[in-house]
């Protein structure tokens, strides 16, 4: 098994600042200009992590803990406020439902738009389109406008494109939960196939702890922007469950 490091975070952190608009200006004047506009607090504290080729890593944590921010930073959608991220491979990301789809265009047209957005060449796309449609099981609807698609159908299409894009690092943020069970299983099976070939690194944000246990080799638990635990899925999930239950009771 190839043990090279494909992705490395070096003290990468993220702090979102409020954008300068009329409200902020008004506050500034009300408070007096001397007081500094204080940032909203870090979304992610400095984080150092490395991921090996072929690893499948789950990220868990409650809502708003910074999981998605971490994925966005790895994907390059948002920039780290400090520190750096080094990667040695092609990233394909599924961070939000229907991301990059154009509602007025048909499913087929969106395959070429979205596929090329994931770095597939048009020639490559032409040869893969049928396979993508087949995997998505959307044959009957593929020439209809994407605006008429349900959430589950969007996920089907997006996932089918993403796995054909030959990703080296695949980032998935909770979108699979929208599909029906049959398709979820199909996706997980496909992911398993990709990972067992050893050339895809999967980073998955999920609230489905069973998937984590069944599917991932490693689990990160993030809470309030801080990495709480990084280790074997069984241990991390158990600690996370304990913590969440005690929070609810306390």
């Amino acid at each position: 098994m190839n043990e090279t490091i494909i992705l490395e975070l070096t003290a990468a952190s993220k702090t979102y600042h409020r954008s300068l608009d009329a409200t902020v200006l008004r506050e500034l004047f009300a408070k007096g200009l001397r007081k500094k506009n204080k940032p909203a607090g870090p979304s992610l504290a400095p984080l150092s992590l490395s991921f090996k080729t072929g690893e499948s890593v789950a990220i868990i944590g409650r809502n708003g803990s910074g999981k998605s921010t971490l994925l966005k930073m790895i994907a390059g959608i948002t920039f780290p406020s400090s520190g750096s991220i080094t990667l040695k491979g092609k990233i394909t990301s599924m961070l939000e439902l229907g991301a990059g789809f154009h509602p007025d265009f048909s499913g087929r047209e969106n395959i070429s738009l979205n596929g090329s957005l994931f770095g597939m060449s048009n020639a490559h796309l032409a040869s893969k389109t049928d396979e993508i449609i087949e995997f998505s099981e959307l044959e009957g609807k593929i020439d209809e406008q994407v605006r008429t698609y349900s959430a589950g159908m969007l996920t089907r299409l997006a996932f089918s494109i993403a796995v054909q894009a030959d990703p080296e690092i695949l980032l998935i943020d909770e979108v699979l939960s929208v599909g029906d069970i049959a398709f979820q299983q199909k996706c997980l099976k496909k992911l398993h196939q990709l990972i067992s070939r050893g050339n895809v690194t999967l980073i998955l944000v999920t609230h489905n702890l069973d998937d984590v246990l069944r599917f991932c080799q490693r689990c990160l638990w993030i809470d309030r922007g801080i990495l709480r635990l990084d280790g074997k899925p069984e241990e991390v999930v158990a600690a996370y469950k304990d913590f969440m239950l005690s929070e609810q009771q306390g």
Binding site: I77, L87, G89, S121
Partner: protein, 272 residues
């Protein structure tokens, strides 16, 4: 072997790396540009044809209005205004759309990684295609109005290239500014009509007062349109001094705009 990418908070202005990455998005650029051209007229009956009809109809209006206005001071007045109007439309449309392009595509940029320059390049490309199609219809008319055909007309191509470089640079700057200062999109139309009157499209640069002429003489769009006129209207080569200055200034302008674009990119990414 895949290339190594480093992401941090410092602006990255390694042009070689930037363009190598942009090159890998060429399929997307083509698909996206095709979408741009189709999108606006998607559900209309005439569809993509509007890309062509719209500018032609506008030209027709100008034709009917201005062929009825005394034009003794400018010979071949219609060629004169058309050779200015076509590049002007290209410019105005790009300025308007660029100031809004990153916002409009927040749906993509906020969820999938994409080098943002691609969207500006796509705007220039789709504008260029419309521009060239319009030219294909209007240029024969202009040549027919003028007296002769000459090979100096080929200077049209370098002038177009220079124009595109100018629009690309300005587009980068405007797209970034449009995100940082949301008000820009609101005021853009007004700014563009101001620019229109500061550009000798309908009048001669010599027809205005001296002070005003000084502004016009140093205004980049006016200089570019002057170059178009040298080729299309006067049927000669472009004014060498202006062409040289324009080329130098444009390269400098490009570097400034692209650097600033990269400089504010982290902030922009968090705002959209």
């Amino acid at each position: 072997m895949s290339q190594i990418t480093l992401r941090d908070s410092k602006p990255n202005f390694n042009l070689l790396a930037i363009y190598r990455e942009l090159w890998s998005y060429r399929s997307f650029l083509l698909n996206w540009t095709q979408r741009e051209l189709e999108m606006r007229y998607r559900s209309s009956i005439l569809g993509v044809l509007w890309n062509l009809l719209n500018p032609l109809l506008t030209m027709l209006i100008y034709y009917f209005v201005f062929s009825r206005i005394s034009r003794d001071s400018i010979p071949n007045y219609l060629s004169y205004i058309f050779s200015g109007l076509i590049p002007w439309f290209f410019t105005a449309q790009l300025f308007t759309r660029a100031s809004d392009v990153l916002w409009q595509n927040a749906n993509v940029l906020g969820k999938v990684y994409l080098p943002k320059e691609v969207l500006v390049i796509s705007l220039v490309l789709s504008g260029l295609i419309n521009f060239l199609i319009t030219c294909a219809f209007i240029l024969p008319f202009i040549i027919w109005q003028g007296q002769r055909f000459s090979f100096e007309l080929l200077w049209f191509l370098p002038v177009v290239a220079l124009h595109c470089l100018f629009l690309y640079s300005s587009g980068l700057l405007l797209s970034a500014l449009g995100v940082l200062v949301r008000d820009l999109g609101v005021i853009m139309n007004t700014l563009i009509s101001l620019l229109f009157f500061l550009t000798p499209v309908l009048y001669l640069p010599t027809q205005v007062s001296e002070k005003f002429a000084l502004i016009i003489a140093n205004q980049p769009i006016a200089i570019l349109i002057g170059l178009y006129r040298d080729v299309l209207y006067s049927a000669s080569h472009p004014n060498w001094t202006n062409f040289g200055l324009c080329l130098g200034a444009n390269v400098l302008w490009y570097l400034v705009c692209h650097y600033l674009f990269r400089r504010v990119q982290p902030e922009i990414s968090d705002l959209i």
